[in-house]
Symmetry: C2
Subunit: 342 residues, 2 copies
């Protein structure tokens, strides 16, 4: 394995270094050739770093960045004011080629703004798309994009998302001819907005793609398509609705309280077994394992973690960045789209 | 209770009379002053009707309608060709004032098309909105609209949906000052499309409404708002995604197979208790209890049931129509909006 360095915004996310540092430790354990440049407040980060094994500490460089972004500011002001913050510097280090990719759990809009400002778009791409893997019931994943980078998307943009998603799925999910679908409110040709219908007709003619037609919201978890294409507004609505429903599902599986009518001591063992049974099933759709959204279409890998991510979830966001870097996703998209245009 | 007559498209839905007739029987049992005019194929319906108690049969009138709509036809052709079908005649009987409302499990687009063609809009309404109750985790419901009648909606239309949803929630959920929210991809003022931001600003100024701002997809089941307003495209995507996730949740609770490692005879009793426990919890978000979407803004009540509805679910769609008729929803919307314009 070649050496690989990630830039990390240690301060981002709801829990900052308390979550990001243990997640980094997990990543260092799993990837012997990985190292990190961390951007964050020394006073907060150092005490947590010193608890790590020396071998890990040697693969971490900390850049002290005391500056915090005032999240209450309007977007454009926050973007301007962000210079020198941990998120800004993490993105900057990727843009400068100092690191191979970056991960942040900070504000999505700001991260996208900074990434688009500093990191060049791939030559064939008009606009990047926020891309995630979503869990499916059979324990596999589908690629979904755009999840919020573009509130609106015309058919040309939807086609670009399809091409990018196709290459992304080939590499990250190791598929030969990934199935592609457009998110819509029905499966008949005449359903949906003009933009979607136009993209639908164009995709039907694209012989190099395995386009299977429209997909509706209720099939998102059923692994009927490997890539799901939509504009950023609908993608965001659908993904958050899905996440909310899955999270709420998990809440049903909380251990019954002591006063539950069936929770007697003699039955504890069986109860544990049952929870184990369901828990294993639910792990398949564990949202933690699918944390991380990437801004696809940029020349480098920039991954956004959920703000509320726990240690495991943040670790998966790091893994997500690593897979994309190792898979050379930006280069493959560039080559793929370049071949198409000739 | 005053007498009430419902028109029913017995043929609609995936299972036709096999589901609709038993559901009708349940409704007749619960509502002694209810009667039905059924539209459907005599040869298929009569054998099922004769099994019902004589008292129920006396409250049912069957209109023989052998004509079937070819669902493979393009929408406009199907609409034209539908004359004389069970769905057409059911809607027609409401339009003529022969019945107080109608229920069908047939094609949504066609039902909306026929309803808009035959039943007049309320004077203050530009376009009707498909409206449903959605389940929330605490066992209550939120009103959501539009769920698919309008692929796009400008801010003026969104405001109308908000007014209609407000009156709907006051009556059907028995609330004094229902909380209203707009579905969006974030909670900050600047998020979302221009149409949504404009509606947001206008709703903030509407003092007669309890507008609480934006709601994101992950909060739909959390009962943070009593009314959720969106365009038909996003509403449809969100609702179907929610339904799919909830349905998939249910699939996790299937009885473990005989060869499961913990399923021994001696433990059967406890197993039953546990399933009962979870089942009761899940019943709260049982989609069956929330079957039925109404085309709000018309001068009469037209309810669409899920095509795949089982007997219980179809029965709930009938109940949904009855509540709206008894609650005089169309008249209240008309009066409410008329008062606002003066």
């Amino acid at each position: 394995m070649t050496r690989l360095t990630l830039a990390l915004d240690v301060m981002g996310g709801d829990f900052g270094p308390r979550v990001t540092i243990p997640a980094i430790s997990l990543a260092l354990k799993h990837h012997p050739t990985l190292s990190f440049i961390l951007f964050g407040d020394q006073a907060m980060v150092t005490p947590l770093l010193t608890r790590l094994p020396t071998e890990y500490q040697q693969r971490i460089q900390l850049v002290h960045t005391p500056k915090l972004i005032d999240e209450a500011l309007p977007f454009t002001q926050a973007l301007r004011q962000s210079k020198g913050s941990s998120m800004y510097l993490a993105v900057h280090s990727v843009a400068q080629g100092e690191t191979d990719g970056c991960v942040s759990g900070g504000n999505t809009g700001l991260l996208m703004g900074l990434a688009k400002q500093q990191i060049s778009l791939l030559p064939e791409i008009t606009r990047p798309a926020l891309t995630s893997l979503i869990p499916t019931l059979n324990g596999k994943s589908s690629v979904m994009l755009d999840l919020g980078a573009n509130v609106e998307a015309d058919s040309r943009l939807l086609l670009q998302f399809a091409e990018m998603g196709n290459i992304f799925a080939q590499t990250l999910l190791d598929l030969v001819y990934p199935r592609l679908a457009l998110l819509n409110i029905g499966t008949e040709d005449n359903k949906g907005t003009r933009q979607i219908r136009e993209a639908h007709q164009a995709l039907k003619l694209a012989n190099h793609l395995n386009y299977i037609g429209y997909i509706e919201g209720d099939k998102l978890m059923n692994h009927v398509s490997d890539v799901i294409v939509c504009d950023g507004f609908n993608g965001n609505i659908a993904l958050k609705t899905l996440e909310g429903a899955v999270k709420n599902t998990f809440s049903f599986f909380k251990k019954p309280t002591e006063d539950s009518h069936f929770c007697h001591n003699s039955k504890r063992y069986l109860l544990k077994l049952m929870f184990h049974h369901y828990y294993r099933k639910l792990q398949k759709i564990n949202p933690d394992r699918h944390n991380g959204a990437t801004l696809l279409g940029l020349s480098s890998v920039v991954v956004k973690s959920h703000g509320g991510a726990n240690i495991n979830a943040f670790y998966y966001a790091i893994e997500y960045a690593i897979s994309q870097i190792r898979g050379e996703i930006p280069r493959k998209i560039s080559v793929g789209l370049d071949n198409l245009s000739h």
